[in-house]
Amino acid sequence: MNTNADTQDFKARAADYGQRYGILIALVLVCAALALANEFFLTQRNIINVLRQASINGILAIGMTFVILTRGIDLSVGSVVALAGVVSASLATTSATAGVAGAPYAFYIALSLGILVGMVAGWVNGVLVAYFNVPSFVTTLGMLSAARGLTLLYTGGRPVPSLTDEYRYIGTGDLFGIPMPIVLFAAVFVVALVVLTSTRFGRHVYAAGGNPHAARVSGINVKRVRMAVYIISGALAGLAGMILAARTGSALPQAGIAYELDAIAAVVIGGTSLSGGVGRVTGTLIGALLISVVNNGLDLMGVESYYQQVIKGMLIVAAVMLDQARHKHA
């Protein structure tokens, strides 16, 4: 009887470890397979590539994690990437035609403005979702279109080129040899991890997503929490947009198209439930890395991009199926 209970306990613990680390194990397995398949995969240079490639999607996905944890979705991040990118770039360009009067401004002014643009877009999403009860899918679908339209209006459809070197530092520079996009991604991750696991606001996010009624009765201002997560997602989309512009040296109005899908994919692969309340930002990190590793590995092996899309699609569905099986088991 006792051994029986022990077996039960062991099984439960194994299931729990599986839930926590299943996706990590998948990442390790994929990396091992790619290392065998391509001699360059595990070179330092390529590892840096993978991390750098993961950074933009990863930053977006971390913002998306906050939103999805509260039972929402933010489809507008791709468009906000473009809008924040071009607005901020127009303050940091040396081009006479593409910049605003007085440009180039100091890089920190341009960067602050980009974050602000993202926050304003997120605030509009948040107000509509939290205070006007518009479903987040609809609200952010609207913002997806509106922000893209504003981007094209603002630029006349033309890119904003010739960004200053100081501004480009966040995309091309490095800190102690680590490229800035990776540094920023890591910083965003650490802050998000602390916020979600160790702060009152983090508890509010989980409660508001797990059961908004119960959270409200327990004295949590659910509307304010909802608004906040969209602002966070918007701000991070703004940051991602500027890193993207800084990397290529010019902000493109058509940047970021369909980026929301990869961000959602990273969150879902990372085990965060689309019905809210359950998930970890660590999972999202691993999800973003997994997508990036798969893309990079397939690029290295010269697999055509259409196969890559198919493989990514299967990966997402497999992750969710795994999740469902796990929940049935529990």
Partner: protein, 315 residues
């Protein structure tokens, strides 16, 4: 019988890695095109691949689909794989400068095809269609068919692509000399067939009389044709395209499209690989000028039979 097959299979399996490594002898050429869903870029990639393999290289074709971030990842992969050269159709005139520089700094020569970047001196060569020449050629042909009096519509490509403006300027330089040619609408349809179709429908609502259409590419022209056909107004309307795509050629054969301007994509993507091969072997450019323009050709009902493969006029 069974045994032999099995043995043959085994032999093939054993020799495969050997073959692969022998192909490495000349090195890898990474070919990065825009979007192979479009037959134009498909041809670009396939011609380059065929040429590279013909010259003994391993070729690897991938696609960025207009996204500079994806383009950047693909160039990183090519650098990691130690490619001998990169053939790149850049995603954006400004946005692709960075990746071209990155590859060049990593010691990999880059040959740009089809589109340019806004900085000279980084890529070894930029091989593109002579869009201005092609536009003038198209406009002159178009005017010759339409005459000196007409109400017409112009379709404009994606404004972020320099070629849209180049072609439109070429058209207008020629057509503005005829005061009887009245442009009743100029619509942006982003190179897209569906958008061309939708825009044309709206234009027909606003303008009961339209004699001709001149389009920045074939896709938008084909959209306009579909809309005109649906409204029963195709008969007598003259439509001119640009690119020389297989669908456009079919439309010319069917008498729906008057002509199209063929971009010599098959020519310059082959040439790009040949120049890359020369550079790899000799360490210096085969052609001194970085920017090389390739003249466009005209496809009309008279020579449409010589169109033997996509974007290839054999003569």
């Amino acid at each position: 019988m069974f045994k032999i097959t099995k043995r043959a299979l085994l032999a093939a399996a054993v020799s495969m890695p050997l073959m692969a490594s022998s192909a490495w002898a000349e090195g890898l050429i990474s070919i990065i095109v825009n979007d192979p869903a479009n037959p134009y870029w498909f041809t670009e990639g396939e011609v380059a691949r065929a040429t590279a393999e013909e010259l003994g290289y391993t070729a690897n074709v991938s696609a960025h689909r207009g996204d500079t971030n994806v383009e950047s990842n693909l160039v990183d992969a090519a650098i990691t794989n130690g490619a001998a050269a990169i053939i790149l159709d850049p995603a954006n005139a400004d946005g692709s400068v960075g990746v071209v520089r990155r590859a060049t700094e990593a010691g990999i020569p880059v040959f740009l095809v089809n589109a340019e970047i806004n900085e000279a001196g980084i890529a070894i060569a930029q091989l593109v269609s002579n869009n201005a020449q092609g536009a003038a050629l198209g406009a002159v042909t178009w005017q010759g068919i339409v005459g000196e009096e007409a109400k017409y519509v112009e379709f404009f490509g994606n404004p972020s692509d320099n070629n849209a403006a180049t072609r439109s300027n070429g058209y207008n330089t020629v057509l503005s000399q005829y005061p009887g040619l009245e442009k009743v609408a100029e619509e942006v349809a982003n190179w897209d067939r569906t958008q061309g179709y939708n825009r044309m429908q709206s234009i027909m609502q606003a303008n009961p009389e339209i004699d001709a259409v001149i389009s920045g590419n074939d896709e938008m022209a084909l959209g306009a044709i579909a809309a005109l056909k649906e409204a029963g107004r195709l008969e007598g309307t003259i439509i001119g395209g640009f690119d020389g795509s297989p669908d456009a050629v079919d439309a010319i054969k069917a008498g729906e499209m008057a002509y199209t301007v063929l971009q010599p994509v098959a020519v310059f993507s082959r040439e790009a690989v040949i120049q890359a091969d020369y550079y790899i072997k000799n360490g210096e450019p085969m052609v001194a000028e970085e920017k090389q323009l390739f003249d466009c050709l005209l496809i009309t009902p008279d020579n449409v039979d010589q169109y033997t493969a996509p974007f290839t006029l054999s003569n």
